[in-house]
């Protein structure tokens, strides 16, 4: 909006160049018919020439230029002498360089207007000294990617004399003193001051001001200058996440946005999204260009910025905004010559942390120990253990003579298979490509992008891959003087392919595969359970395809007779078809007889009957929005107002089909299965929403800022008298730095702002249709051979159900000292969340036969702060910036519906009462070491096993009797640490530039959370199964100083209680991303038409420092299972090319 308003101030060329304008109008028409045509004939002053001549007339030079370019010269023969002889030499220079050489020296001055160059004699009244000589300065202003920047203000310092760049980024400023300094300024860009030092042509590249107060930030339904922001809003621009070789953009946000808690639990291709919460709240509303949708799989190259509304600033989204809002804005075209960017990035991924399994020798020994401890007969004889140790490379093994003879005989029977290595490979490739182009003129602008990602996993079979194709085309066109049209199309295809079983199952199978099992030489006959499961040729395939298509049309009309008023309408159609195909093949696992090279079936694999399931679903949303915007300045009063109405219509439908009875697994299609036992299913659901919102901004002299919003929302999920809700907010700000007393006295303070906000919002995606009674299809019985479908009541209804209510308070300040030498932002918040659905406790007796419906009963509260500090500087030729943040949040239960514990003893209350307690706690026992002897057990007064400690043995964990009743029961559980959500998160960014080199680094970390290693308490979970090598440090009478208790099949009940023995108060700091880039000197590629070329080396998760030793510190798995896929470390090489 801002830019468009300014455009009307451009000098009017119409008088001089009416023909051109006319052509432009025609062009615009053609553009609307066919966008492609429009951009083929763009011209530019950047066009490069290579020309030279010796002792030729200026006239000839100009004729030569006219023949080689679209420039035309206008001049008056009487005033300008073109017969002067000149010699000139231009290699790959612009027209300006040429004209400077040829004309400037010969007393002719020029002025470029569009394609026309007007020649005139140098003013004869110029004083003699260079310093006082006045001249016309012209040039071109571009942004950092080389696109022209229109609307840049150029002022001669100390005067009011100035101009603005035209749509092509060109400017001409007449009558500039030779010693003047020009000031270039533009919203969101760093203001530059350049001394002209006698030059007449000055080209300027403006750079984005990342923390600059003039920066524009996306807020709900619009943008806001950072300087006027009062809410707690943080944002990150494209350059901070593009070129990072991660597949899922959500996993690259950690450490970049203060207050965002991003935890990535899995590194599996297609499943590697980070779970993102704002300030520890529930899942946030994410909106991409005005449409509620996930942004995980959007190509980072398409994204302009991501901003996060953390406090009352989110209230504009009303009933959905309770957990905060993440706004993703995609790139749009900029006026200027087309810029084509090509990014390619190719690298390798590997597990950040992975722990080793035991080898055969270690297995045989420890498995026997486990069997012995569990009271089972031993599997391996001493000789066998020796032999396994020997084949595992244990040189300390000493055979007796008899054993040696036996070993010579049967050594083929002793295998040492590294099943992890059979199933996983050390590295897997990842590639990303993106081709984008943007450009435009004052009538039409476009941005288009095409992206491709191919990621494979470390599964050796190569059957676990993720492919993604993204495209986007955003077009803005000016139809008439006051009407603008936007037409955006975007879409993507996500294709995940897995072997028949997900990674969790593969892990579980891998745990089953003992190292003593021989690896088969013929891959068609897997001897490992995991081996078959991980291989699509054997276990089948699991495919998930998501396609996303978003089309939008928007109209923006500047009401001509009311200054500052515009009306906007936007329609979005959003459709997401998804397809799942699951073809599971029946297979067997074999025993391999090495000596005779024979296979025999040892057991069936994970699937006993080949079967195929297909699920097809589609969800569509139709969203229409109408916005009235008003902005005007009345003296010291700046007023902005906005009125929004929004309608959303949503529908989802799905269909599934299943067949089995496949004759062969060769044809992976439904028709090939048997019609006996086939099933199908399907359903639909609908949703919708109506919202009205208004926002009012007022600013007095840029000092006192006020913003207030109201949102009126309705959702059909609630009863008609409970569906409408009003959500207000008020935000106030005071820019102290604008006050006279500050401006005059403390000049090093460039910005100082105090902010306060309060807002109410909601979360309404809960308890759909809880207000209705009725019946669902459910159950049934077999009557005379046929299934009779049943119906069942859906339970009691609660007509009072409504959304959760969130009240957010935020206070903060920002300051900027010595022109960003030091800048800081601080926010502290408190949030009350009430109306969380819960079932009334102790209400109806069980004999009632129905439970009460959920009601809006529970409450929680949140508190925390974010502190951000930054510094920008330059040391000689090194330009750098460094900024970091620390964020803390903690959640407390308010009212929780539960039994009344007021009469209970203190331990019971501590154990069970949730109301008023901190959330995110880990409950367990306090371990006080291991029992070292039976005597110690006998002397121990605490009964740990409800059986007079008869089942306790030396090497078992000793627990503190917390409630002092001399026995370990459930009541002894108490909070022993934090839950698995980190309460403290931090990030540190460094960006530096030296000559053509650049370096970016992002450190990120979290702490104050509890971590329990997957499966650690349960060695040998299956019989037989294997363990990790680190688990070998278990207690034995010889190894009394062990880290782990005595080993047993599946562990021992006493040792598996959640306790301080297993809980790690975890922290981690990781080098999330590091990137070193080098921009090649232009002379290397100029001849092939490129404008810039940068190569870089980038790494993700290169370094992880943590007290979690054996696993990735973000991994979460249950303590009894091994379902995880560690995050990936990626090292890649990339090239950015622009032309």
């Amino acid at each position: 909006m801002k830019k468009k308003l300014k455009r009307s101030q451009f000098p009017d060329f119409v008088g001089e160049l009416s023909k051109v304008t006319c052509i432009m109008k025609l062009t615009l028409f053609l553009i609307l018919l066919n966008v492609c045509v429009a951009f083929s004939s763009t011209y530019s002053q950047q066009t490069k020439f290579t020309l030279s001549g010796d002792n030729v007339s200026i006239r000839d030079v100009l004729a030569n230029v006219e023949s080689k370019s679209e420039f035309r010269f206008f001049f008056n023969n009487a005033l300008v002498n073109l017969d002067q002889r000149v010699s000139y030499r231009i290699e790959e220079g612009t027209i300006l360089e040429l004209l400077d050489q040829v004309l400037q020296k010969n007393g002719i001055q020029y002025e470029i207007k569009d394609r026309t160059i007007i020649l005139s004699p140098k003013s004869s009244d110029e004083p003699g000294t260079a310093a006082q000589q006045k001249r016309s300065v012209s040039g071109r202003v571009t942004n950092s990617s080389g696109s022209p920047l229109p609307g840049v203000t150029i002022v001669i310092e100390g005067t009011t004399q100035g101009t603005i760049t035209d749509p092509q980024g060109n400017y001409t400023l007449p009558n500039v003193p030779g010693n003047a300094t020009l000031q270039f300024s533009f919203v969101g860009m760093k203001t530059q001051e350049i001394a002209i030092s006698g030059k007449t042509a000055i080209d300027v590249m403006m750079v984005d001001e990342t923390v600059g107060i003039e920066e524009v930030v996306a807020v709900g339904y619009g943008t806001q200058k950072k300087v006027n922001l009062i809410g707690s809003v943080v944002d990150v621009k494209n350059d901070r996440f593009v070129n990072t070789p991660v597949a899922n953009i959500s996993s690259s946000l950690a450490g970049k946005l203060p207050g965002i808690v991003a935890i990535q639990r899995s590194g599996e291709p297609g499943q590697d999204a980070a779970s993102i919460s704002i300030r520890g709240f529930g899942s946030a509303l994410t909106i991409v260009d005005g449409v509620e949708q996930s942004f995980d799989q959007i190509d980072p190259n398409e994204i302009e910025s991501i901003s996060v509304l953390k406090d009352a600033s989110a209230t504009i989204y009303g009933a959905r905004a309770g957990n905060g809002v993440i706004l993703v804005t995609t790139k749009r075209g900029k006026t200027g010559k087309p810029v084509i960017n090509f990014n390619v990035n190719s690298g390798y991924q590997s597990n950040t942390r992975m722990t080793d399994f035991v080898d055969s020798g270690e297995f045989a020994q420890s498995y026997n120990d486990a069997l012995a401890n569990s009271g089972k007969p031993l599997t391996f004889s001493d000789y066998q253990i020796k032999a396994y140790k020997y084949v595992s490379g244990d040189k300390a093994v000493v055979f007796t003579a008899a054993e040696k003879a036996q070993f010579e005989n049967d050594k083929a029977n002793f295998a040492n298979t590294d099943w992890f290595n059979v199933i996983f490979r050390p590295v897997a490739p990842i590639q990303q490509y993106n081709l984008s182009s943007d450009g435009g003129n004052d009538k039409i602008k476009y941005f288009s992008s095409l992206g491709y990602l191919h990621q494979q996993s470390v599964l050796r079979s190569g059957d676990d891959t993720f492919k993604r194709y993204n495209f986007r085309s955003n077009i803005d066109a000016q139809i008439t003087k006051n009407l603008y049209v936007g037409f955006d199309l975007s879409g993507r295809i996500e294709n995940s392919m897995y072997p028949g079983y997900a990674i969790g199952e593969i892990w579980n199978c891998l745990i089953n595969d003992v190292p003593t099992r021989a690896l088969n030489p013929n891959p068609a006959y897997p001897t490992g359970l995991g081996q078959g499961t991980a291989d699509a040729d054997i276990s089948g395939t699991r495919q998930h395809i998501t396609k996303v298509f978003n089309g939008s049309l928007s109209f923006n009309y500047s009401v001509p007779f009311v200054k500052g008023l515009s009306a906007k309408a936007r329609f979005d159609y959003f459709v997401v078809p998804q397809f799942d195909k699951n073809f599971l093949k029946a297979y067997n696992v074999y025993n391999y007889d090495v000596v005779n090279d024979l296979y025999s079936i040892s057991r069936s694999g994970m699937t006993s009957k080949t079967n195929l399931t297909e699920i097809s679903q589609e969800s569509t949303s139709l969203i229409s929005k109408f916005i009235l915007d008003y902005e005007n300045i009345f003296g010291n009063h700046t007023v902005k107002a906005m009125l929004v109405s929004e309608y959303t219509d949503y529908k989802n439908q799905w269909l599934s089909a299943y067949r089995t009875g496949y004759l062969s697994s060769a044809v992976e299609q439904l028709f090939a299965g048997s019609s006996t036992g086939m099933t199908n299913n399907g359903s639909e659901n609908v949703d919708g929403r109506i919202s009205y919102a208004c926002r009012l901004n007022y600013s007095y002299s840029g000092k006192y800022l006020l913003e207030t919003t109201f949102r009126y929302d309705a959702s059909p999920r609630f009863a008609s008298d409970k569906r409408w809700g009003l959500f207000p907010s008020v935000l106030i700000g005071w820019r102290l730095s604008e006050e006279r007393f500050m401006k005059d006295n403390v000049q090093f303070i460039n910005n100082l702002k105090l902010r306060l906000s309060y807002g109410q919002a909601g979360v309404d995606n809960i308890a759909s249709y809880n207000y209705l009674t009725g019946y669902n299809f459910s159950g049934g019985f077999v009557d005379n051979g046929a299934m009779q479908t049943g119906i069942i009541t859906k339970g009691l209804a609660n007509i009072l159900t409504t959304w959760e209510k969130h009240k957010t308070y935020n206070a903060g300040f920002d300051f900027d000292l010595w022109k960003s030498k030091l800048y800081c932002g601080f926010d502290a918040f408190y949030k009350e969340r009430s109306g969380i659905l819960a079932t009334r406790a102790a209400s109806l007796p069980t004999t009632f036969g129905a439970s009460l419906p959920s009601e809006n009963l529970n409450s929680m509260n949140y508190r925390g702060f974010e502190l951000q500090l930054g510094h920008k500087g330059r040391i000689r030729e090194i330009e750098y910036s460094i900024d970091g943040y620390i964020a803390w949040n903690k959640i407390k239960n308010g009212h929780i519906e539960e039994a009344d514990y007021s009469k209970s003893d203190v331990y019971t209350r501590l154990r069970y009462q949730q109301s008023g307690q901190w959330a995110n706690r880990y409950f367990g026992l306090e371990a006080v070491g291991l029992f070292q002897s039976q005597d110690e057990i006998n002397a121990w007064p605490v009964i740990q096993d409800n059986n007079n400690n008869k089942t306790i043995r030396p090497g078992d964990i000793k627990y503190l009797d917390y409630n002092g009743d001399n026995k370990i029961t459930d009541i002894d559980y108490h909070p022993i640490g934090k839950g698995n959500t980190p309460e403290l998160t931090y990030g540190l960014n460094f960006n530096g530039k030296w000559k053509s080199f650049d370096l970016a680094m992002l450190w990120q970390g979290a702490s104050n959370y509890g971590f329990v290693s997957p499966g650690e308490q349960r060695p040998y979970p299956y019989n037989p199964s294997t363990i990790f090598r680190y688990q070998l440090d278990y207690w034995t009478p010889q190894n009394t100083d062990a880290k782990y208790p005595r080993i047993g099949l599946s562990g021992f009940t006493n040792n598996k209680y959640p306790s301080t023995y297993w809980l790690i108060d975890a922290y981690y700091v990781r080098l999330k991303n590091i990137q070193i880039g080098y921009s090649l000197p232009p002379r290397l590629f100029k001849s092939i038409g490129l404008t810039s070329c940068r190569v870089y080396l980038s790494a993700v998760n290169l370094l992880t420092i943590s007290n979690v030793d054996n696993f990735d510190p973000e991994t979460i798995s249950s303590s009894s299972d091994y379902v995880f896929f560690p995050q990936q470390k990626t090292i890649s090489f990339g090239v950015n090319i622009s032309l």
């Binding site: 929004v644 659901n685 019946y775 049934g780 049943g790 069942i792 009541t793 036969g849």
Partner: protein
């Protein structure tokens, strides 16, 4: 001109705030049938009843999958019939079997007032429904039977429980909502009176629904329970549990009468010719055909013997009954094996510790054919091969080879268990109610029918009631009818112990009678020598093969490390602390 501007702006504003509320907000879920639609639509009313039938409690043998408190075959594991390798079974992990049952409950819980409410809602809505009166009458009668059956399943666990016969409303006064427990006698009387009330309204010929005979069977069983409790139990808590002993004979009489109404006329009853004992596969003089006959009785849907059964369709509404063998959910005990007599009526006890045979089935040649129909042994044909369940072998040099999970199969052998980690713990596998599928069915992929009531049980109910009433001729007659179908010698005299013994072998394992019988007879808390469970060690007789004499031997010992503990209190399961917290008016059973 100015007016036009205002009009234009107003139009803009009103355009943005156009109302399409109706269309967007009038959405309702597409998968819910409204209250009003259900009760006047015959097919939806039928569907409601279908749902109720689908929810009735049946033995855990037929569970589709593990549920919260039960394992497939759980009842058999609770008594001396069997044990299991699956020590993650809740009954083991919580030590319920070994004296660990407390007021926290968790064992065999069944407190399905949700189903009771669903029945009450149905019965009430039928009074105003517009569907045909005749259908209303039949369906109401069936639903009252489902309710009575559900109350029986609860009373046999907890003793007296609150009798709720109307759907309560949230707005009812607390005094009505927070009910007290009815006396045990009241619950049994309610079951009896409900059966009497609807007997003539019930359908007569659908084995999958409650018919007149199904109702009579329930009466036969429930009144027998009431009689035993009156005779052997103690009245406690003012009658909340226990039934006055002077009422015993009237309950036995009621049971006896009900049984007689089912028993065919040819066998001295008044049940016409509707049911008879299944003998379809019996060939005269072929002992093995008797075993086949008894085995097939349980795998065939709707035999002549079946009175009320729950049928299954694999994958649609399936069960996992056949998991029993391969997965060894139930490993039959030596105690059960020895209970089966020889065909001549002599003791079937085998001294496993001192037996060596070249072919294990030879050992059982002359056993009650029901043994081979119920229990699978090493050397039995199965799955197209021969089962081998060798715990280990002893080589010629005397070295012991193999341990759990590592076993040696004979040529063409089918190892008994292939899922999980080892063999049956006792040396025996379960065959009764297990279909020879050749593979372990996935959860819910089996369709062995569940006979809730069969004539065989009614004969035994009748015999027991007759014995208790002193009608020993009838008692002997019906026990002998069962024995002659089984293919073993007739009894000449009868006493209660012989009837109990016959129930044990006829209704063993997955039919899930013995645990409840031991409780109602108040035998469970007796020591094993007196036929009880307290102090019982489940015994194993695992086969091993000795190459030195080329014979199978048996390794005899205790399977479980601890002895079973059955305290007097266990005759009633605890109401539980959580239910009493929820309703303080519920008094806890004695001993918890």
């Amino acid at each position: 001109m100015k007016d036009i501007k205002y009009i234009f702006i107003s139009v803009l504003i009103s355009f943005s705030f156009q109302s399409c509320e109706e269309q967007i907000l009038s959405k309702e879920p597409l998968d819910i049938i409204s209250d009003a639609a259900v009760w006047n639509d015959q097919s939806l009313v039928n569907a409601y009843v279908s749902n109720l039938y689908g929810r009735i409690k049946i033995p855990s043998t037929f569970l589709p999958t593990l549920d919260n408190s039960e394992l497939i075959g759980g009842e058999a594991l609770l008594c001396d019939d069997a044990t299991t390798r699956h020590t993650w079974h809740p009954e083991w992990s919580n030590n319920y079997l070994f004296g660990g049952l407390t007021a926290s409950g968790g064992l065999k819980e069944y407190w399905d007032y949700t189903l009771i409410r669903a029945c009450n809602v149905f019965i009430e809505n039928m009074t105003t429904s517009t569907i045909s009166e005749s259908l209303k009458k039949i369906l109401s009668a069936e639903v009252r039977m489902i309710r009575a059956y559900t109350y029986f399943e609860m009373v046999k666990r907890y003793g007296g429980i609150p009798l709720i016969t109307q759907a309560q409303s949230i707005n009812d006064p607390e005094s009505e909502l927070f009910v007290k427990r009815n006396n045990e006698q009241e619950v049994y009387d309610f079951i009896g009176s409900e059966i009497d009330a609807v007997l003539n309204d019930l359908p007569t010929d659908d084995k999958n629904r409650f018919t007149k005979f199904g109702a009579l069977s329930l009466k036969s069983r429930a009144m027998l329970y009431a009689g035993s409790i009156a005779k052997y139990g103690t009245v406690q808590l003012d009658g909340v549990v226990g039934i006055p002993s002077n009422l015993a004979s009237s309950y036995f009489q009621a049971s006896y009468n009900a049984s007689k109404q089912i028993i065919p006329e040819s066998d001295g009853g008044s049940g016409g010719t509707v049911f008879s004992l299944y003998k379809g596969d019996i060939k005269a003089d072929d002992l093995s055909s008797y075993a086949d006959n008894f085995y097939n009785l349980f795998l065939t849907e709707k035999t002549v013997e079946s009175i009320f059964e729950v049928d299954f369709i694999a994958g649609v509404k399936g069960n996992t009954a056949s998991y029993g063998l391969y997965g060894s959910m139930m490993d039959p005990s030596v105690e059960l094996a020895n209970a089966f007599e020889m065909v001549d009526g002599s003791s079937g006890v085998i001294d496993y510790a001192n037996v060596a045979v070249t072919n294990v089935p030879d050992l059982y040649k002359n056993k009650d054919p029901r043994f081979r129909a119920s229990i699978l042994n090493t050397g039995d044909p199965w799955s197209g091969g021969i089962t081998y369940s060798n715990w280990y072998i002893i080589r010629e040099d005397g070295e012991k080879m193999g341990t759990a999970g590592v076993y040696y199969t004979g040529q063409n052998g089918v190892t008994m268990p292939t899922r999980g980690s080892g063999e049956t713990y006792t040396g025996f596998g379960t065959k009764k109610l297990v279909r020879d599928l050749g593979y372990i069915p996935a959860w819910g992929m089996d369709d062995v029918p569940c006979m809730v009531f069969r004539l065989g049980e009614i004969y035994l109910n009748c015999a027991e009631a007759a014995q208790e009433l002193g009608k020993t001729d009838d008692a002997l007659r019906y026990v002998n009818l069962i024995r002659s179908r089984a293919g073993i010698a007739q009894l000449t005299t009868i006493d209660l112990d012989k009837i109990k013994h016959e129930r044990r072998v006829e209704l063993a394992l997955g039919e899930a009678h013995r645990y409840w019988d031991l409780r109602r007879w108040r035998d469970a808390a007796k020591s094993p020598v007196n036929g009880g469970l307290n102090g019982l060690y489940i015994t194993k007789a695992q086969t091993y093969y000795d190459y030195r004499d080329s014979k199978f031997h048996f390794d005899v010992g205790h399977v479980e490390a601890n002895a079973r503990v059955f305290k007097e209190a266990y005759y009633y399961l605890p109401i539980t602390t959580s239910r009493r917290n929820n309703n303080p008016n519920l008094v806890e059973n004695p001993g918890y």
